[in-house]
C-alpha cells in the first residue's frame, strides 16, 4: 500500500475516460490507494457529460474534485490532450505548460499514452476498470447485433454513418436480432428487436453489449465499452485514427472507404470538411461483409443430427438457386460437368463462376459459350492462378464466390457449392432441396453436406471412412444451404491446411451446429474417380457417365 495522493485532471468523452482507467488500474496494481479525479464543470464539453462522469468515476477514483489545488497532491497528471480549456486555468494559476497531443504525429494508442504518463508500459496493461450492471437481460434471439451511432458525441457531424436504417433492415431479414444502444434520436428509422437508447446508464449499456455478439459502430465511446466487456466490434472508420483508439481486448474488424483525406482528425481538413465522404461512402454491403467475417457468434445449438437417409423426398418446384463453382485448367472434366448439369434439369437461378487464372483458353471459351434457359451466368476471371498447394487458397476462392453472390444483389432460395468435376443425375438439385425442405427444422438448420462427415458429437472422425469420395455409397459433392443461412450464419471459410470444406464444417461445429448428413445418390465426383478406384478397387457401384 502506498499513501501517495495522486490526482488526474481530465475532461473528455466516455471512451477516453475508460481508456484512462487502464492507467489507473496499473496504479492500483502498484498499490496506490488514493486517486482523485479533477474535472472542470464549466467546460462546455463536460456539462453534457457531467452526469455520466458522476456515474463512472467511482469505477476507478476515490473522489471527484472540480478545482485544481496542486498542493493537495503528491503527483498530478493532466490529460488535456484535446480539450485545452481544462488546462488553461491550471497553467495560469501555477505558471506551467501542458502540451497538447497531436495524434496524427505521435502514432500511439491512447491507452499507451496514459500508461506512459504514469510511468508504465504496455506490459503492465491489465484491462480497464469498468463495472457492469446486473441488468437489463436481453430477450431477443441469438445472434444479436448491437448498433450504435456516435453516442451523443459532438463529432457526430463528421463521423456518423447515415445508412444504419438500411443496415438494420437487412440484418433482420438475414435472421439477426438488432439491438439499439446510444443517445437521443440517433439511429432513428432503424428496425430493431430491442431498443435501449436513452434508457441505460453506462454500466447497463455495458451489460447490454456484453449479451450481444457484435457491435457495429463508428469509433466512439460505446466501442470502448464493448472492448471493456469483450464484445467484438466492427468499426466503421472514417476521420478518426484507428491506431489511436482501436479495441485492445476484443476481436475487431475495420470497414473503411479508402479515401485519401482520411483520417483527418486534428488536421485542417477536419475543420474544413463539410461532407464526410469517408463515412458516406461506406456501403451497407461492405458492412454486411464485415459482419459475416466474424466467427465468434454465441450461437445456440439448434439442431441435433440424426439419420435422415430415410426421409421421403418431395419435389419442390419454382425455386431459385445460386450455383457456385471455381475452375482451373481441367477442361475435359469441366466440359463433362457442364454437359451433365445442362441435362439434369436444374432449378432456375444464377451460376457464379470463378476462373482461378486458367491458362487453358478452352476453359474460358467453354464457360462463355455456356448458355441455358433460366440460368444466368456471372463470370469472373482472376489474372493470376493462386499457388496450388492442396487446400491453400481454396478458402479464399470460396470467399470470393460468396462475395460475388452478395455483390450480385439477387436473392435465392438456396445456395450450393459445386465442383468443376462433378457429374449430376437428372433431378439432383430437386432431390437435395427436397430433403432440405422436408427437414423443416428452421432456417437455421445449417447446411446439408454431401460428405460423409461426422461431427465430434456422433463420433470422433472427420472426413469419411474411405477417403474423401465415398463412391460406394454415392456420397460426394459439396453443400447446399438456404439463402438465409448463407447470409446470416455461413460467414467466411477459415483458411488452413487440407480442404476448405472440412475446415468450414469444423468451424460451424464449433459454433454449435451439427451437420446434416445425407446420401442423395445424385452427384458423383469425376475428378476423384480414377484415384479413388486405385485406392479402393471395386468401390464404384455406378458410373454416372
Amino acid at each position: 500500500m502506498r499513501n501517495d495522493r495522486l490526482a488526474f485532471g481530465f475532461v473528455n468523452g466516455l471512451g477516453n475516460f475508460i481508456f484512462l482507467t487502464a492507467a489507473v488500474k496499473v496504479l492500483r496494481n502498484w498499490g496506490y490507494d488514493d486517486i482523485t479525479l479533477i474535472t472542470d464543470l464549466n467546460n462546455p464539453h463536460n456539462k453534457r457529460n457531467y452526469a455520466l462522469l458522476q456515474e463512472i468515476y467511482p469505477y476507478a477514483f476515490n473522489r471527484l474534485e472540480t478545482s485544481f489545488e496542486e498542493e493537495k497532491y503528491d503527483r498530478l497528471f493532466i490529460c488535456a490532450w484535446s480539450r485545452p480549456s481544462l488546462a488553461v486555468p491550471y497553467m495560469e494559476k501555477y505558471n506551467r505548460k501542458v502540451p497538447i497531443v497531436r495524434w496524427n504525429i505521435i502514432g500511439f494508442h491512447e491507452v499507451e499514452m496514459y500508461l506512459r504518463m504514469v510511468g508504465a508500459s504496455w506490459k503492465e496493461f491489465d484491462g480497464y476498470m469498468f463495472d457492469v450492471a446486473e441488468g437489463p437481460i436481453l430477450q431477443s434471439d441469438y445472434p444479436r447485433i448491437a448498433l450504435a451511432q456516435c453516442s451523443g458525441s459532438g463529432q457526430s457531424d463528421k463521423k456518423a454513418w447515415p445508412y444504419f436504417p438500411e443496415l438494420s433492415s437487412k440484418l433482420r431479414k438475414m435472421g439477426y436480432s438488432v439491438v439499439l444502444v446510444g443517445y437521443n434520436d440517433e439511429l432513428s428509422g432503424c428496425e430493431y428487436d430491442e431498443d435501449f437508447r436513452n434508457r441505460t446508464t453506462i454500466s447497463e449499456a455495458g451489460k447490454v453489449l456484453s449479451q450481444c455478439d457484435l457491435l457495429v459502430a463508428p469509433s466512439t465511446g460505446l466501442t470502448v465499452v464493448a472492448d471493456a466487456v469483450k464484445t467484438p466490434v466492427l468499426l466503421l472508420e472514417g476521420p478518426m485514427f484507428t491506431a489511436r483508439a482501436h479495441p485492445l481486448q476484443t476481436d475487431y474488424r475495420i470497414v473503411r472507404s479508402y479515401i485519401s483525406c482520411a483520417p483527418c482528425f486534428q488536421t485542417p481538413v477536419w475543420d474544413s470538411c463539410r461532407e464526410p465522404l469517408c463515412m458516406n461512402r461506406i456501403t451497407v454491403d461492405q458492412v454486411i461483409k464485415g459482419v459475416l467475417s466474424f466467427k465468434t457468434f454465441k450461437q445456440k445449438k439448434i439442431f441435433k443430427g440424426s439419420d435422415f437417409e430415410s426421409v421421403v423426398v418431395k419435389k419442390v418446384n419454382n425455386k431459385r438457386v445460386a450455383y457456385l463453382f471455381c475452375c482451373k485448367d481441367r477442361y475435359r472434366l469441366l466440359d463433362e460437368m457442364l454437359t451433365s448439369f445442362k441435362k439434369s434439369n436444374p432449378y432456375k437461378g444464377t451460376m457464379f463462376i470463378l476462373n482461378d487464372g486458367s491458362i487453358d483458353p478452352r476453359v474460358e471459351e467453354r464457360i462463355l459459350n455456356f448458355k441455358m434457359d433460366g440460368i444466368n451466368v456471372i463470370y469472373k476471371k482472376l489474372e493470376y492462378q493462386h499457388m496450388n498447394v492442396k487446400g491453400v487458397r481454396t478458402a479464399m476462392l470460396y470467399n470470393m464466390l460468396s462475395d460475388m453472390v452478395i455483390d450480385s444483389g439477387e436473392t435465392f432460395d438456396y445456395v450450393t457449392l459445386i465442383d468443376s468435376d462433378l457429374l449430376f443425375k437428372p433431378g439432383w438439385i430437386q432431390k437435395i432441396a427436397g430433403i432440405y425442405d422436408e427437414l423443416k427444422v428452421s432456417k437455421k438448420i445449417g447446411l446439408i453436406t454431401g460428405f460423409s462427415f461426422r461431427t465430434k458429437d456422433d463420433s470422433t472422425t472427420y472426413g469419411c471412412d474411405n477417403g474423401k469420395y465415398r463412391l460406394n455409397s454415392h456420397i460426394s459433392g459439396q453443400w447446399l444451404m438456404s439463402y438465409q443461412f448463407f447470409m446470416s450464419e455461413f460467414g467466411r471459410f477459415e483458411d488452413g491446411a487440407g480442404s476448405a470444406d472440412i475446415s468450414k464444417c469444423d468451424d460451424l461445429h464449433k459454433r454449435g451446429f451439427t451437420q446434416i448428413k445425407v446420401s442423395p445418390s445424385v452427384i458423383q465426383h469425376a475428378g476423384a474417380y480414377s484415384s479413388s478406384l486405385r485406392i479402393i478397387p471395386g468401390a464404384l457401384v455406378e458410373d454416372f457417365r
Binding site: 502514432g107 484507428t242 491506431a243 476481436d251 474488424r253 475495420i254 493470376y384 487446400g391 479464399m396
Partner: protein, 206 residues
C-alpha cells in the same frame, strides 16, 4: 541480353554503372547481381537498429500508417529482417513474417492475407513477379523514391547488389496498377523523421 521493363514490357537500355533504364516509366534496375552481404552482421545491425528509440518510434508510425489506412486482420511482413516491425504488433492482428534470407517461414501460404507490408524491402526483391501472387488485398510499403535530376550513382540509397530497383513514384504506381492495385494513400512520415527520400504508400486491390 535483353532486359525487359516489368511495367511496360519494353526493352530497357543501359546507362552505365551496371544500371539499366526504362525511360517511359523512369525506372532503373541495377543488374550487378553480386550477392549482397545478407549475413549475421547485417541482421544484427537491423536488430539493434529496431531496438533503438528511433527504430521503435519508426515502427510505431508504420503500424499507425497501416491501421489508419487499411482493413487489416491478417498481415504478412515481407522482408521482416529481425522482426522489429512485428514485435510491436497491436492487439487483434495476426502477423506472419517472411524473409528470404533470415526467416524462411512459409506458414503465410495457408492464410488469406489482408495486407502485405514491404518495409525497406520492395527494392531488394529480384523477382518482382511474386508480389501479385501473394494475393493480398492491400499492399503497404516504404521505399526510396528517385526524383528528377537525381544522380543515382551518388545517391545514398544506391547499393548495387542490395537495392535492385530504383523507382520513381510514377513507376511504382504504374507497376501496382499493372498488378491491379490502386494507390489509396501516401505519406512522408519517414522522410520527416529523418530518413531521406523514403516515402510510404498504401495500395488497394481494385
Amino acid at each position: 541480353m535483353n532486359f525487359i521493363c516489368p511495367i511496360c514490357d519494353g526493352k530497357m537500355s543501359s546507362v552505365g554503372q551496371n544500371l539499366i533504364f526504362c525511360g517511359y516509366d523512369n525506372l532503373y534496375e541495377c543488374i550487378d547481381r553480386k550477392e549482397a552481404d545478407y549475413n549475421a552482421d547485417y541482421l544484427l545491425h537491423y536488430k539493434l537498429y529496431g531496438r533503438t528509440t528511433f527504430g521503435k518510434a519508426l515502427n510505431k508510425k508504420r503500424w499507425s500508417f497501416v491501421l489508419n489506412n487499411t482493413q487489416t486482420n491478417v498481415l504478412l511482413d515481407f522482408g521482416c529482417g529481425a522482426d522489429s516491425f512485428s514485435d510491436l504488433k497491436p492487439n487483434g492482428i495476426k502477423v506472419f513474417s517472411y524473409d528470404p534470407y533470415f526467416k524462411k517461414d512459409f506458414s503465410f501460404l495457408h492464410a488469406s492475407l489482408d495486407t502485405v507490408t514491404f518495409w525497406d524491402s520492395f527494392e531488394h526483391i529480384t523477382r518482382l513477379g511474386i508480389v501479385p501472387l501473394l494475393g493480398a488485398k492491400q499492399i503497404v510499403m516504404s521505399i526510396p523514391i528517385i526524383y528528377d535530376g537525381l544522380d543515382i550513382c551518388s545517391w545514398k540509397h544506391f547499393r548495387p547488389g542490395e537495392h535492385i530497383w530504383y523507382f520513381s513514384q510514377k513507376a511504382l504506381i504504374r507497376l501496382m496498377q499493372k498488378w491491379g492495385y490502386k494507390i489509396i494513400n501516401s505519406d512522408d512520415f519517414e522522410s520527416v523523421m529523418g530518413r531521406e527520400d523514403i516515402f510510404s504508400y498504401c495500395f488497394l486491390k481494385s
